[in-house]
Amino acid sequence: MTNSDGQLYTIEGFAAALIMLMTAYLVVNATSVYTAGDTHISDMQLEALGSDALNMMGTPTNTTMDVIGTSPLRTIIENDDAITFKTMFLNLTNNRTGLPPDYISRIGSTMDFIQFNASYTCRDLSNNVISTTPISYSRNLTGGEHTVRATKWVIVNEGVCGNGIQHRAVLVEVLMWRD
Protein backbone atom coordinates (compact mmCIF):
# COMPACT_ATOMS: atom_id res chain seq x y z
CA MET A 1 0.00 0.00 0.00
CA THR A 2 1.32 3.39 -0.95
CA ASN A 3 1.84 5.80 1.85
CA SER A 4 0.41 9.23 0.94
CA ASP A 5 1.74 11.13 3.91
CA GLY A 6 3.66 14.38 3.38
CA GLN A 7 2.47 15.12 -0.16
CA LEU A 8 2.35 18.83 0.61
CA TYR A 9 6.02 18.79 1.62
CA THR A 10 6.94 17.09 -1.65
CA ILE A 11 5.10 19.72 -3.68
CA GLU A 12 6.74 22.47 -1.68
CA GLY A 13 10.12 20.90 -2.31
CA PHE A 14 9.56 20.89 -6.05
CA ALA A 15 8.30 24.47 -6.05
CA ALA A 16 11.25 25.69 -4.00
CA ALA A 17 13.71 23.87 -6.24
CA LEU A 18 12.20 25.45 -9.35
CA ILE A 19 12.30 28.94 -7.85
CA MET A 20 15.89 28.53 -6.69
CA LEU A 21 16.99 27.26 -10.11
CA MET A 22 15.31 30.21 -11.82
CA THR A 23 16.94 32.62 -9.39
CA ALA A 24 20.37 31.11 -9.87
CA TYR A 25 19.91 31.27 -13.65
CA LEU A 26 18.93 34.93 -13.54
CA VAL A 27 21.85 35.88 -11.29
CA VAL A 28 24.44 34.07 -13.44
CA ASN A 29 22.89 35.54 -16.57
CA ALA A 30 23.02 39.03 -15.09
CA THR A 31 26.78 38.95 -14.52
CA SER A 32 27.47 37.93 -18.13
CA VAL A 33 25.46 40.87 -19.44
CA TYR A 34 27.26 43.19 -17.05
CA THR A 35 30.56 43.05 -18.96
CA ALA A 36 28.97 44.10 -22.24
CA GLY A 37 27.07 46.98 -20.68
CA ASP A 38 30.12 48.13 -18.77
CA THR A 39 32.27 48.18 -21.93
CA HIS A 40 29.83 50.42 -23.73
CA ILE A 41 29.69 52.90 -20.91
CA SER A 42 33.47 53.30 -20.62
CA ASP A 43 33.79 53.47 -24.43
CA MET A 44 31.29 56.30 -24.49
CA GLN A 45 33.15 58.18 -21.75
CA LEU A 46 36.54 57.72 -23.40
CA GLU A 47 35.24 58.89 -26.78
CA ALA A 48 33.62 61.97 -25.25
CA LEU A 49 36.85 62.76 -23.39
CA GLY A 50 38.93 62.46 -26.58
CA SER A 51 36.54 64.60 -28.60
CA ASP A 52 36.59 67.28 -25.92
CA ALA A 53 40.39 67.25 -25.77
CA LEU A 54 40.70 67.58 -29.55
CA ASN A 55 38.10 70.32 -29.56
CA MET A 56 40.12 72.28 -27.01
CA MET A 57 43.29 71.79 -29.03
CA GLY A 58 41.47 73.02 -32.14
CA THR A 59 40.43 76.25 -30.43
CA PRO A 60 42.65 79.37 -30.63
CA THR A 61 44.17 79.99 -27.20
CA ASN A 62 44.35 83.78 -27.51
CA THR A 63 43.09 86.65 -29.63
CA THR A 64 46.31 86.84 -31.67
CA MET A 65 45.81 83.25 -32.77
CA ASP A 66 42.15 83.93 -33.45
CA VAL A 67 42.88 86.82 -35.85
CA ILE A 68 45.08 84.70 -38.11
CA GLY A 69 42.66 81.77 -37.76
CA THR A 70 45.06 79.29 -36.22
CA SER A 71 44.97 76.95 -33.24
CA PRO A 72 47.41 74.74 -31.34
CA LEU A 73 46.33 71.71 -33.36
CA ARG A 74 46.84 73.50 -36.67
CA THR A 75 50.29 74.71 -35.59
CA ILE A 76 51.22 71.19 -34.52
CA ILE A 77 50.32 69.75 -37.93
CA GLU A 78 52.02 72.55 -39.87
CA ASN A 79 55.24 72.13 -37.88
CA ASP A 80 55.11 68.30 -37.46
CA ASP A 81 55.37 68.95 -33.73
CA ALA A 82 54.93 65.49 -32.21
CA ILE A 83 56.20 66.45 -28.76
CA THR A 84 53.76 69.33 -28.26
CA PHE A 85 50.85 67.14 -29.35
CA LYS A 86 51.84 64.40 -26.94
CA THR A 87 52.30 66.74 -23.98
CA MET A 88 49.10 68.63 -24.63
CA PHE A 89 46.91 65.62 -25.32
CA LEU A 90 48.17 63.62 -22.34
CA ASN A 91 47.71 66.64 -20.08
CA LEU A 92 44.15 67.19 -21.28
CA THR A 93 43.10 63.58 -20.93
CA ASN A 94 45.09 62.32 -17.93
CA ASN A 95 45.40 65.19 -15.48
CA ARG A 96 43.32 64.78 -12.37
CA THR A 97 42.98 66.40 -9.02
CA GLY A 98 45.43 65.09 -6.45
CA LEU A 99 48.77 63.37 -6.68
CA PRO A 100 49.31 60.44 -9.03
CA PRO A 101 49.88 57.11 -7.26
CA ASP A 102 53.43 56.91 -8.62
CA TYR A 103 54.45 60.46 -7.72
CA ILE A 104 57.34 59.41 -5.46
CA SER A 105 59.12 57.36 -8.09
CA ARG A 106 58.27 59.55 -11.07
CA ILE A 107 58.05 63.15 -9.95
CA GLY A 108 56.35 65.30 -12.55
CA SER A 109 54.59 62.42 -14.24
CA THR A 110 50.90 62.30 -14.90
CA MET A 111 48.88 59.21 -14.19
CA ASP A 112 49.17 57.96 -17.79
CA PHE A 113 46.09 55.80 -17.72
CA ILE A 114 44.98 56.81 -21.22
CA GLN A 115 47.28 56.10 -24.14
CA PHE A 116 46.86 57.42 -27.68
CA ASN A 117 48.02 57.06 -31.25
CA ALA A 118 47.29 60.08 -33.44
CA SER A 119 47.44 60.64 -37.18
CA TYR A 120 45.94 62.88 -39.81
CA THR A 121 44.53 62.02 -43.21
CA CYS A 122 44.73 64.19 -46.30
CA ARG A 123 43.79 64.03 -49.97
CA ASP A 124 46.16 64.10 -52.94
CA LEU A 125 44.88 66.76 -55.34
CA SER A 126 46.13 65.02 -58.48
CA ASN A 127 44.37 61.66 -58.08
CA ASN A 128 41.97 62.00 -55.09
CA VAL A 129 43.87 59.27 -53.22
CA ILE A 130 43.89 59.74 -49.46
CA SER A 131 46.85 58.95 -47.24
CA THR A 132 47.49 59.00 -43.52
CA THR A 133 50.45 60.61 -41.77
CA PRO A 134 51.32 59.89 -38.13
CA ILE A 135 51.35 62.85 -35.75
CA SER A 136 52.39 61.37 -32.44
CA TYR A 137 51.83 58.43 -30.10
CA SER A 138 52.32 57.63 -26.45
CA ARG A 139 52.71 53.87 -26.84
CA ASN A 140 52.83 51.39 -29.71
CA LEU A 141 49.65 49.61 -30.67
CA THR A 142 50.10 45.86 -30.31
CA GLY A 143 46.68 44.89 -31.61
CA GLY A 144 45.30 43.72 -28.28
CA GLU A 145 44.08 47.11 -27.10
CA HIS A 146 40.43 47.99 -27.01
CA THR A 147 40.52 51.39 -28.68
CA VAL A 148 37.99 54.10 -29.44
CA ARG A 149 38.41 56.80 -32.07
CA ALA A 150 38.01 60.55 -31.70
CA THR A 151 38.28 62.81 -34.74
CA LYS A 152 38.63 66.50 -35.51
CA TRP A 153 38.57 68.50 -38.75
CA VAL A 154 41.36 71.05 -39.08
CA ILE A 155 42.08 73.58 -41.81
CA VAL A 156 45.84 73.93 -42.23
CA ASN A 157 48.08 76.05 -44.43
CA GLU A 158 50.52 73.37 -45.46
CA GLY A 159 51.64 71.27 -48.42
CA VAL A 160 49.87 68.13 -47.26
CA CYS A 161 49.98 64.89 -49.27
CA GLY A 162 52.76 66.21 -51.46
CA ASN A 163 50.81 69.14 -52.86
CA GLY A 164 51.90 72.78 -52.76
CA ILE A 165 51.37 74.95 -49.69
CA GLN A 166 47.76 76.14 -49.56
CA HIS A 167 44.75 76.01 -47.24
CA ARG A 168 43.59 72.41 -46.94
CA ALA A 169 41.19 70.45 -44.75
CA VAL A 170 42.63 67.41 -42.97
CA LEU A 171 41.01 64.95 -40.59
CA VAL A 172 42.86 64.35 -37.34
CA GLU A 173 42.14 60.90 -35.90
CA VAL A 174 43.17 59.75 -32.45
CA LEU A 175 42.91 56.16 -31.22
CA MET A 176 42.64 56.06 -27.45
CA TRP A 177 42.73 53.24 -24.98
CA ARG A 178 43.05 52.75 -21.24
CA ASP A 179 46.15 51.10 -19.91
Binding site: T23, G37, I41, I155, H167, V170
Partner: protein, 117 residues
Protein backbone atom coordinates in the same frame (compact mmCIF):
# COMPACT_ATOMS: atom_id res chain seq x y z
CA UNK B 1 -7.00 7.18 3.24
CA UNK B 2 -3.98 8.37 5.05
CA UNK B 3 -4.34 11.35 7.23
CA UNK B 4 -2.87 14.56 5.77
CA UNK B 5 -0.96 16.42 8.41
CA UNK B 6 -2.00 20.08 8.14
CA UNK B 7 0.05 21.41 11.03
CA UNK B 8 2.43 24.36 10.59
CA UNK B 9 1.07 25.52 7.27
CA UNK B 10 2.25 29.08 7.98
CA UNK B 11 5.86 27.87 7.88
CA UNK B 12 5.27 26.57 4.36
CA UNK B 13 3.61 29.85 3.42
CA UNK B 14 6.61 31.81 4.74
CA UNK B 15 8.89 29.56 2.72
CA UNK B 16 7.01 30.48 -0.44
CA UNK B 17 7.04 34.17 0.42
CA UNK B 18 10.80 34.23 0.98
CA UNK B 19 11.44 32.27 -2.21
CA UNK B 20 9.34 34.63 -4.29
CA UNK B 21 11.03 37.69 -2.81
CA UNK B 22 14.43 36.25 -3.75
CA UNK B 23 13.11 35.65 -7.24
CA UNK B 24 12.05 39.26 -7.68
CA UNK B 25 15.31 40.58 -6.25
CA UNK B 26 17.18 38.51 -8.83
CA UNK B 27 14.95 39.95 -11.53
CA UNK B 28 15.83 43.48 -10.42
CA UNK B 29 19.58 42.75 -10.47
CA UNK B 30 19.25 41.16 -13.90
CA UNK B 31 17.53 44.19 -15.40
CA UNK B 32 19.61 46.88 -13.70
CA UNK B 33 22.80 46.01 -15.61
CA UNK B 34 21.19 46.34 -19.02
CA UNK B 35 20.05 49.91 -18.44
CA UNK B 36 23.48 51.49 -18.93
CA UNK B 37 24.14 49.44 -22.03
CA UNK B 38 21.24 50.75 -24.08
CA UNK B 39 21.94 54.31 -22.97
CA UNK B 40 25.63 54.11 -23.88
CA UNK B 41 24.86 52.44 -27.20
CA UNK B 42 22.48 55.17 -28.26
CA UNK B 43 24.97 57.84 -27.21
CA UNK B 44 27.76 56.20 -29.24
CA UNK B 45 25.50 55.69 -32.24
CA UNK B 46 24.30 59.27 -32.50
CA UNK B 47 27.10 61.28 -34.19
CA UNK B 48 26.78 64.38 -32.02
CA UNK B 49 30.48 65.24 -32.07
CA UNK B 50 30.75 64.56 -35.82
CA UNK B 51 27.96 66.96 -36.68
CA UNK B 52 29.24 69.61 -34.31
CA UNK B 53 32.74 69.31 -35.73
CA UNK B 54 31.50 69.38 -39.33
CA UNK B 55 29.46 72.53 -38.71
CA UNK B 56 32.50 74.17 -37.18
CA UNK B 57 34.86 73.36 -40.07
CA UNK B 58 32.30 74.38 -42.68
CA UNK B 59 31.82 77.69 -40.92
CA UNK B 60 35.58 78.23 -41.05
CA UNK B 61 35.92 77.17 -44.68
CA UNK B 62 33.26 79.27 -46.41
CA UNK B 63 35.28 82.47 -46.09
CA UNK B 64 38.50 80.78 -47.18
CA UNK B 65 39.84 81.78 -50.63
CA UNK B 66 40.69 78.11 -51.26
CA UNK B 67 37.10 76.97 -50.63
CA UNK B 68 36.61 74.64 -53.66
CA UNK B 69 39.67 72.56 -52.70
CA UNK B 70 38.73 72.45 -49.01
CA UNK B 71 35.18 71.45 -49.87
CA UNK B 72 36.48 68.51 -51.91
CA UNK B 73 38.87 67.56 -49.10
CA UNK B 74 36.04 67.43 -46.61
CA UNK B 75 33.72 65.43 -48.87
CA UNK B 76 36.35 62.86 -49.90
CA UNK B 77 37.86 62.41 -46.43
CA UNK B 78 34.46 62.20 -44.82
CA UNK B 79 33.44 59.38 -47.14
CA UNK B 80 36.72 57.48 -46.87
CA UNK B 81 37.52 57.81 -43.17
CA UNK B 82 34.14 58.26 -41.52
CA UNK B 83 31.79 56.48 -43.92
CA UNK B 84 29.48 59.45 -44.13
CA UNK B 85 28.15 61.41 -47.08
CA UNK B 86 28.82 65.08 -46.59
CA UNK B 87 27.98 67.80 -49.10
CA UNK B 88 27.70 71.49 -48.57
CA UNK B 89 27.17 74.48 -50.78
CA UNK B 90 27.22 78.17 -50.18
CA UNK B 91 25.34 80.59 -52.38
CA UNK B 92 25.70 84.34 -52.25
CA UNK B 93 22.54 86.18 -53.19
CA UNK B 94 23.00 89.94 -53.02
CA UNK B 95 24.48 90.64 -49.62
CA UNK B 96 23.11 87.46 -48.04
CA UNK B 97 25.01 84.16 -47.93
CA UNK B 98 23.23 80.83 -47.68
CA UNK B 99 24.97 77.62 -46.59
CA UNK B 100 23.31 74.25 -47.05
CA UNK B 101 24.75 71.25 -45.21
CA UNK B 102 23.77 67.65 -45.96
CA UNK B 103 25.14 64.91 -43.73
CA UNK B 104 24.25 61.21 -43.72
CA UNK B 105 26.22 58.40 -42.07
CA UNK B 106 23.70 55.66 -42.79
CA UNK B 107 22.10 55.88 -39.37
CA UNK B 108 21.59 59.58 -38.85
CA UNK B 109 20.72 62.16 -41.46
CA UNK B 110 21.27 65.83 -40.81
CA UNK B 111 20.38 68.77 -43.02
CA UNK B 112 20.82 72.40 -42.21
CA UNK B 113 20.34 75.78 -43.89
CA UNK B 114 22.27 78.75 -42.67
CA UNK B 115 21.87 82.28 -43.87
CA UNK B 116 23.68 85.40 -42.85
CA UNK B 117 24.12 88.92 -44.12
Amino acid sequence: MARLNDDAQWIILMGFLVSFSFFFLALVINQSTVVGQTTAESVIEFPKNDIRDVRQVIGQSVNDPNLPVIRNDITVLSMNRKGSVLKYTNITNGSATYIQIHYNNGVTEYNENWSYL
